[in-house]
Amino acid sequence: MQKRIFLRSTALAALSLVAALAHADNNTFKIGLILPMTGPFASTGKQIEAAARLYMAQNGDTVAGKKVELIVKDDTSAPDVTKRIAQELVVNDKVNVLAGFGLTPLALATAPIATQSKTPLVVMAAATSSITQASPYIVRTSFTLPQAAVGIADWAPKNGIKKVVTLVSDYGPGIDAEKYFKDRFLFNGGQVIETLRVPMRNPDFAPFLQKVRDLKPDAMFVFVPSGAGAALMKQFAERGMDKAGIKLIGTGDVTDDDILNSMGDVALGVVTSHHYSASHNSPLNKKFVEAFQKANNGLRPNFMAVGGYDGMRVIYEAAKATKGGSGDALLEAMKGQIFESPRGPMFIDAQTRDVVHNIYIRKVEKVGGQLYNQEFDTIKDVKDPGKTK
């Protein structure tokens, strides 16, 4: 027992010494970027990392006289790994801010670390509504699924879609999408005939799609992770559902810019609501897309990339305002930022620390031989409907 106490106190002393040393090194501003760089969600990680590096290339790597150091770590999209890496980054590397977080469980697992160490945590991808409530230190620059889902739920009833069947992947974001779409759609006088949840490891959409077809709705609302979107879209067309008069609507995840082109013509005419399209018509976005493609072998930026890009912007501006600060001061400087993003105008709501931005209604069209989500309607300044306050 004695020995253990001795060991513990020595360890503590050593640790605080290291901490003191690290603090002494005051000329860098460290950003710990945790992303899934391998595994099924690697494309998310690639997009965000590319966007973050692009932002640094465009805006220099010094802020308020300090050198910005970007530490990129791969969490393989396993929550326990994310948490461990976050811990190491906070304790060993003394990062000023944690960022990244490709999926909801990864962000939720790390939330307690942000709270305990008072480190601001910028969510650049994960989109379940409740994430920002998990810690007062979480700021989000991506989007929330309820935001995207209510957009299409507002648009559909005005455009002759009265009866809808929903089909979502059976996990957090899918259930979020289903719930908020349904609530808003019913509120707008629509009718949801059936809600179908497809297991995550579902090999074949056939039976679910057949069920939808036999129910004969005006449209099918879809949320699936972006990779599965292509398969779903093809089977939708193969089953002749478009010819049977069923429209395909959904959140923008289904027609992800990253893979939209490889889906082929079956995607044409699909209407979705989302906060970002690579074809968004603004000078800033044109510049962003061009620079991104130039730096990444022609890879098209998607909504993940823009979340990462804006996340870096929020961090940079907060660092400038606080002269490279950390903790509560840095967090305060992130809240309430209003700026023009490639996606359009956006701001960080000071109360909820969540992003507020326009939701666009888009239709897949062919532009110059390539498929794009062409925006044709805008719902301005959508706050996350998932927050009760």
Binding site: T38, P40, R197, P207, F208, Q210, R239
Partner: protein, 288 residues
């Protein structure tokens, strides 16, 4: 209603082609090859790469997927699997699951972890409706059923009517006596293993469109293969065929009629069948 039956049959046929090789090797050498799905994945990737990057027509990709997977199967059988035959089952299982993991990591490294997307030729994309829309058949699924039915008949013919078939059956029933009668059991087995792997490769190529194709394919479908083999028994190919059809139809119909329980029905069915017939649906008398 008929459409569901049709989709179920297409799905079952695909499962059968994917799993039949496993069933034969398991019956033949009593070797549990959990890496079987990796050969299917190889076939799938061969097709995707040839089609998308080199513009090879789809119909030419199918035999190449078969050949590629069969060749790989033969090489691995000669070099790796052979040494494992006399080891206990636990070693074999650990060995082959290790291979499966390595295949997953390799595919991830070279091909990336995303779902592969395939563009079918135009003539396979349509759909035919019969009986006032009561039976809607996607042309691609029709094609799958046709190919798989032809393969099944071919396999059945080889097994029951040719000399190689009788040697194979003899080796399955009792390898020692078969060897004593002058049958080169090793060659029989190597050939069977290669063909089984090739069939899996063909199944992977055909299935990439329907089942999806990503590096976790071997693990995702391992359970389905094992169910087909466990339910169908390992002594014939009629067993796995009926098991696969039953499984396919039950899976599709279950998801259609009770979507909330959908993914569970298959397992319930398997448990019920195995309680009723622990050896699988079909057991041939005289086998060991």
């Amino acid at each position: 209603m008929l459409t569901i039956l049709f989709d179920g049959i297409a799905y079952g046929m695909l499962l059968f082609i994917l799993a039949v090789g496993l069933s034969v090797t398991m019956g033949l050498m009593n070797f549990i090859n959990l890496a079987h799905g990796a050969f299917a994945m190889v076939g799938g990737y061969i097709t995707v790469v040839l089609m998308q990057r080199h513009g090879v027509p789809f119909m030419a990709c199918l035999p190449l997927a078969f050949g590629g997977a069969a060749l790989l199967g033969m090489v691995l059988e000669r070099t790796l699997y052979r040494t494992m035959y006399r080891k206990p089952h636990l070693d074999q299982v650990l060995f082959s699951i290790g291979l499966a993991f390595m295949a997953v990591a390799t595919a991830d490294y070279f091909m990336g972890s995303q779902q592969q997307i395939m563009q079918l030729p135009e003539w396979l994309r349509g759909r035919t409706e019969l009986f006032d829309g009561a039976l809607g058949m996607g042309h691609y699924r029709l094609f799958i059923i046709a190919v798989c039915a032809a393969l099944t008949i071919g396999l059945q013919f080889i097994l029951s009517k040719t000399r190689f078939g009788s040697r194979l059956r003899a080796s399955v029933d009792d390898p020692r006596v078969a060897a004593g009668l002058g049958i080169n059991v090793n060659v029989v087995f190597a050939a069977t293993f290669a063909v089984g792997s090739g069939l899996a490769g063909l199944g992977g190529a055909l299935g990439a469109e329907v089942l999806g194709l990503d590096p976790t394919f071997p693990l995702k479908f391992m359970v389905y293969f094992l169910i087909v083999v466990a339910v169908g028994g390992t002594s014939s190919i009629t067993g796995p065929l009926l098991a696969a059809l039953l499984l396919g139809i039950a899976d599709v119909a279950g998801k259609y009629f009770i979507p909330k329980l959908g993914a569970f029905i298959v397992y319930a069915l398997m448990i019920a069948i195995l309680i009723w017939r622990p050896q699988g649906l079909f057991v041939r008398k005289g086998g060991k």
